[in-house]
Amino acid sequence: MLINRSILCMVFVLLTITSIVNAIVQYQYTVAINNTTLFDTFNYNNVDWRLFILSYNNTSPDDVYMNCYIYKLYNAKTREEYWNKDPDLLYARLLSKLNNFGIQPVLIHEPESRIQYTSLVNEIKVLFEDLGIDIQQVNIGLDLVIVHVFRSQFDSQINEDIVDRIFDHYIKYNELRRELAYTRLRYLYKNTCDDTCKEKVNIIMNMSINDIKERFKVIIIEKIVTKEEYTMYFNETLNRLISLVREGKMPEWVIGGGGESVLGAVEIDLRYDKLEEYGLDERKAITYLRQLIGNDYPLQIRIFSNVSSMELWTNRKSSETYPIWQLYIAFIVIAVLAIFLKRSRLFRK
């Protein structure tokens, strides 16, 4: 009898553990994930620097060959290492640390604020053009300006002084700043800008100029190419690549590509396992790619070990993603067993 009771107890405990694990998994996906990005008014742009220049110089390619910047992602052992490897992921990580991002004009609600957004962008463009620097695009965020510039005589002209000069333009547009704050908060509160959200907007709007200035950040992204190189060869390279794909001439060891790297290069992803299969090393592969493409435009090459962990998110087993039903079943089983135990003799003893 004692053994029976122990077994039943163990069954209950196991069921409970299973239920708890399932509930935690479901909770993680449905609630916690959504909350992790919730905007903390006092926790945006909280970094030491005022100006961050993202350029080829502060990324670390594993190799540079034939104007190709090679990032061996198969060497990344952890997720963190992976996200620090290539410039695009580094940029995303940089924004994530700021708990901020550029806001597209299309997201801004008030038409007047969109006009102010355009005016500010134009003023920043003029500011840089006066320094002889060609601009590709400018993105504005809450107390954040991201400027994409083409390669030029850059280093000698840009220092922290530029942050104050951009700030002088930014601070004129108080209504735009209010709108940026609303947009940011509405977005992160999934449009439910209730009293708490409004309170946060008020806190942001009531900051002193010095506080805003302290929080204000500028990211300058220096492209790897000049305006002329970009204009003449970027689209040509893309068109060549896409026609190779559509003609079925792209080698098997190329997983994908055709994107514009944050530094302006054309992205191409390779499979290390397939390169090995074909007896190629990275340099031989790049030489072959260069012949296929037929120009010298910079390429950002990412090499993956294999792609077995790239998933398609269709669930081929119905109900597996709904542990809540398992919970209900577990709950019913527990209830039935509890009633059975209460009525059984062995329990009364």
């Binding site: 039943l8 959504n34 299309v106 609600h109 509405r186 994908g256 527990i334």
Partner: protein
């Protein structure tokens, strides 16, 4: 001791389940007219005949995914309405049947196209490059809304691949496995090869997802509605990157365009969308 444990279990479960039980809108419910963000089940069926027994349909596999968005295409001056689901949720060669939310037909000698939940599987266009299936239906059967955890949101507009900016475009995705999650676009590629198939206009972002989310809408929130950006493909889960297909791919390979709310006067049937002033009141 054991009795005490048993008594405590329901309380623990209730506490753990409480955040789930208060969910307002469940994507696994039945929704008509059809809209984005809800559960669809696709089933592959075969017809068998045995001399002494007769003939019957047999199911060879089911898969859960998410309805992406409602769309239309213009053929000979006439708009044909329908909905989009993930291409890899169906069999490219054999053909599948589609149900919302799940297959509800009889279980013996069943015919797969019966049941109230049957929504298509015969008149569809498919594109492997766009990972999309466009199923024709009538305009009354679809509505230009998507389901979000806070209610229904009108699809007001859509954003082309060229307008998506890495580091700037902040997207949400809705899926039946992980509901609504969000993240920033990290990069975009003109083509990408996953599991032996080449997809075009692929965009990468760092939102979270899981099996069952495929096909789900990816959007940005603008005003009281959403601007559609694409539909879920999958993820490089080990490294926390997800990827989705831009609406531009559906346009170029299937000739379809997202059905936007600007052309309809009233909201859809069912629970009313949340009062917009609640979200946007200033």
């Amino acid at each position: 001791m054991c009795i005490r444990i048993i008594a405590i279990i329901p309380i623990i479960l209730l506490v753990l389940l409480s955040p789930l039980l208060i969910a307002d809108y469940d994507p696994t419910d039945r929704y008509r007219p059809l809209r984005g963000g809800i559960l669809v089940e696709t089933g592959y069926w075969e017809y068998y005949c045995e001399p002494m027994i007769g003939c019957w349909w047999e199911i060879n596999g089911l898969s859960d995914s998410t309805l992406g968005y409602t769309a239309y295409k213009n053929i000979g001056g006439e708009d044909i309405y329908g909905f989009v689901i993930a291409g890899h949720a169906v069999d490219y060669e054999s053909g599948w049947y589609i149900y919302q939310p799940n297959y509800d037909g009889p279980t013996v000698n069943y015919v797969p196209v019966t049941g109230e939940n049957y929504i298509g599987g015969i008149d569809y266009d498919i594109s492997q490059e766009a990972d999309a299936v466009f199923e024709d239906t009538s305009s009354e059967n679809v509505t230009p809304y998507i389901l979000r955890p806070v209610g229904f949101a009108p699809v007001n507009d859509y954003m082309e691949y060229s307008e998506v900016i890495p580091g700037v475009t902040y997207v949400y995705k809705m899926g039946v496995a992980t509901s609504e999650t969000c993240g920033i676009v990290t990069r975009k590629e003109l083509w990408y090869n996953v599991s032996g198939h080449t997809y075009e206009y692929v965009i990468f972002a760092n939102y979270t997802g899981y099996f069952g989310d495929s096909g789900g809408p990816v959007y940005i929130i603008v005003g009281s509605g959403v601007t559609l950006v694409g539909h879920v493909l999958g993820g490089y889960t080990v490294y926390g990157e997800a990827y989705f297909i831009s609406v531009t791919s559906d346009e170029s390979h299937l000739g379809i365009y997202p059905y936007c709310s600007s052309s309809i006067p009233s909201p859809p049937e069912g629970p009313t969308p949340e009062d917009n002033s609640k979200y946007f009141g200033r």
